[in-house]
């Protein structure tokens, strides 16, 4: 009941406030961002959710950052790292950094944060095998040196330390206040401080003037949660918000014409693919049929006709935005080749009846793409029944191997090789569609433990070639992320879907 009364009071207070106008925001250096979804918590290292972390990263820093162009790890709270031996990493920490409550940042903060994440009582998603599960122990060497000991050689640790998977919390506050209080009022070292979060409505942050990297240009950042895209767009055009996430391709012109904002787009690290399921009996067991499918689907046409060019074609399982990417040759659209391969496999395309499972509205034009693929397959006489699923049902079907021979799925932000290849090409994984290939099984098991960067690159390059030849998917594309950005804001979108306001500049126009 207390939350009810608190909300009543908050309501009364805000009823008297009037929203700031666009021109006032330029003067006071405020930015308002319109997003479709809200964060799930304000507690760091607890819930794995990209939207949540996007906002938390404004408040909390990580050990390392990633260069938005090269995707290589660069210093953040750690100024450097070295590999001591196969299972020991040592990080050198930045000196003189303070949390928003004045507590100094030290090796103890790193240790306390990871111990919180791994403590079963925290029920953190990050304690699972795909995240910090392989970590055995954190050792404090001195105030500014910390060692990570792993259960087995774990080259991917560096990606976890530079992604959103390690947001450093203050050790003393965590101990004295407890996680529940930090969920109400997060305390980080980041460029912005927490002001308030009104669920389903807005999250307000203010500039941390003492930020170790220098203060941000924006004095105040407000994330507003507007689920309906038309409303988000109206908010952008009427000057209520400055940045809008996910402009649909058909609305690009309207934004550009408005004179108030323009569309900024970026190639995303999120990939889309059409799975050719070999984990259940059926024609997709045969590699020749899977290759034929790759020749039968005209990916370029899909990009041009359905996505209006807003996608970048992929030829193998990883995109160039992935640190472990190696180029492979594309399957060309070639119906004669497809016919020949079907014949070789003893499959008569006109007798083939396939089922394609797809979500609707989860990925850009997912349902439309699936229907277009069915139409393309029809050219060879293949009948494809497209089944549109509610998102939860789609996941259930994939997990229980209950989909048709084909399903559409997106994956990402796919930033390292292990994060894509391991969960998607092994039979025992939750959402895989392909597996039981002994050679690939062994190569994956080896690749994920190679510590030497050159050896790792070679291992993943070999895997990409193998996967490409096995054709477990019709390889489709990297999505493009489209943002509407007001003329008064200078900001470049990133491939990893982070709306990162430390980089944004407000200019009078």
């Amino acid at each position: 009941m207390r939350s009810f009364f608190r909300a009543v009071i908050a309501l009364t207070v805000v009823a008297l406030a009037v929203p700031a106008l666009a021109q006032d925001r330029v003067k006071s250096k405020e930015i308002v961002i319109g997003l479709g979804a809200e964060p799930r918590t304000m507690l760091a290292v607890t819930i794995v959710d990209w939207t949540t972390n996007n906002m938390l990263e404004h408040i909390y820093d990580r050990l390392l950052d990633r260069d938005p162009k090269t995707f290589k790890p660069v210093p953040m709270l750690a100024t450097g790292f070295k590999i001591v031996n196969d299972t020991t990493w040592e990080f050198t920490l930045r000196k003189g950094v303070k949390f928003h409550n004045g507590e100094p940042f030290t090796a103890q903060s790193v240790k306390a944060t990871l111990e919180y994440a791994l403590d079963p009582a925290s029920k953190s998603h990050y304690a699972t095998a795909s995240y910090w599960g392989p970590l055995k122990e954190v050792q404090v060497v001195d105030d500014y040196t910390v060692r990570f000991l792993t259960k087995q050689p774990w080259p991917n640790l560096i990606d976890h330390a530079s992604l959103t998977n390690l947001l450093i919390m203050p050790a003393k506050a965590l101990k004295e206040l407890g996680p529940a209080k930090l969920a109400e009022k997060p305390i980080g070292t980041g460029p912005f401080k927490f002001v308030e979060w009104r669920r389903d409505e807005r999250l307000v942050l203010e500039r941390n003037t003492d930020y170790w990297g220098g203060p941000a240009d924006a004095s105040r950042v407000t994330f507003r949660f507007i689920p309906e895209f038309s409303t988000r767009m109206a908010a952008l055009l009427s000057g209520e918000i400055d940045i809008m996430k996910d402009v649909p391709p058909h609305a690009v012109e309207a934004v550009e014409r408005s004179g108030r904002a323009r569309v900024r787009s970026t190639v995303s690290s999120r990939i889309n693919y059409l799975a050719l399921v070999n984990l259940k009996p059926g024609p997709m067991q045969d590699v020749r049929v899977r290759r034929a499918m790759n020749h039968a689907v005209d990916v370029d046409e899909l990009i041009k006709a359905v996505l209006k060019g807003r996608a970048t074609r992929m030829c193998g399982p990883l995109a160039p935005a992935n640190v472990d990417y190696a180029p492979v040759e594309c399957y060309r659209y070639d119906s004669a080749r497809a016919q020949a391969l079907f014949k070789e496999a003893g499959v008569e395309p006109t007798k083939l009846q396939l089922t394609l499972d797809t979500p609707a509205g989860r990925y850009p034009l997912d349902k439309d793409v699936s229907l277009a693929i069915a139409a393309q397959l029809q050219r060879l006489g293949i009948k494809t029944n497209v089944v549109v699923n509610e998102w939860g049902t789609h996941l259930d079907k994939i997990k229980n191997r209950n989909t048709g021979e084909l399903f559409f799925l997106g994956w990402g932000p796919a930033l390292n090789g292990q994060g894509t290849i391991q969960p998607l090409f092994l039979a025992d994984q939750t959402y895989s569609s392909y597996g039981n290939n002994k050679v690939i099984d062994e190569k994956i098991a080896r690749a994920v433990t190679v510590m030497d960067p050159k050896g790792r690159a070679a291992a993943y390059a070999e895997l990409q070639k193998l996967v490409h030849d096995e054709a477990p998917w019709v390889f489709l594309w990297q999505q493009h992320d489209l943002y509407g950005v007001a003329n008064t804001v200078e900001w470049t979108p990133r491939a990893d879907e982070k709306v990162w306001m430390y980089d944004a500049k407000i200019v009078a126009r």
Partner: protein, 305 residues
Amino acid sequence: MRAYLLSRLAQTALVVFLSLSAVFAMVRLGGDPVLLFMPMDIQAKDVNEIRQRLGFNDPLPVQYARFVGGALRGDFGESLRYRRDALGLVLERLPATLLLAASAVLLTLVVAVPLGVVTAVRRNTLVDHAGTLATVIGQAVPGFWLGLMLIYVFSVQLRWLPTGGMGSLAHLVMPSVVLAAFFSARIARLTRSAMLEALGEDYVLTARAKGLTEPRVVAKHTLRNSAIPIVTLAGLEIGQLLGGAVITETIFAWPGLGRLTVQALLNRDFPVVLAAVFVISATYTVINLLVDVLYGWLDPRVRLR
């Protein structure tokens, strides 16, 4: 009166309990909740471990008993998605929903009842035809379309009102209008037909014969006698509004109960779904009770000894 109220309260509790049980059974028939709140690279053994920890691997009767035990103490558990007390999440949204519902109902009554009365009294005149046309349009126009049009005109073109969100009275205008448009149309039509019926009654003839002025005849004798169906419908609609107006809330980014509930359903966030059903069914039955009490006040014949 007291015995009556007590028995009604017992009925209310039973209704709430039964609807919770039905919803409990229905949500469990859906799929696995764990998949929807865990990241997609989760491994199968972790999925199973989490399911075990949360008790989803237990037999359904055991889960049901645990749920009933918790619910009786007002504990619906923790939201799977948000990791917060489920009932707290729901109650936090209630003021926004109450505010929007109250404002929509007020607007409805202020517009619809007079419109219904006027069209009935001026039957078959231009006023009546215009009013009927308006109500038909009000009922036929889909809420999402009306909402988007209002946003386009008043936010994008004229810049008088904010597109959505909550904050000032200005934020309340468009969502209330959209909700009220549909309900007003229904109430106005109902008022009109109820008034027409009452206007033909003998007691109206008597009232006029007594020499009462026409406004008094309409207000005191006709409207009050037509009020029962209006109150019934208004009660049902208030109950519906308190369950949240999903589409309107979504379009205007209004942080209400409907959006929370539908999102919880889609995300299989069972504790939140059940807490929401509890709050919604409880308010619904309380409103029904109030409507019944109001009947007694309006019509002495149904008043209780």
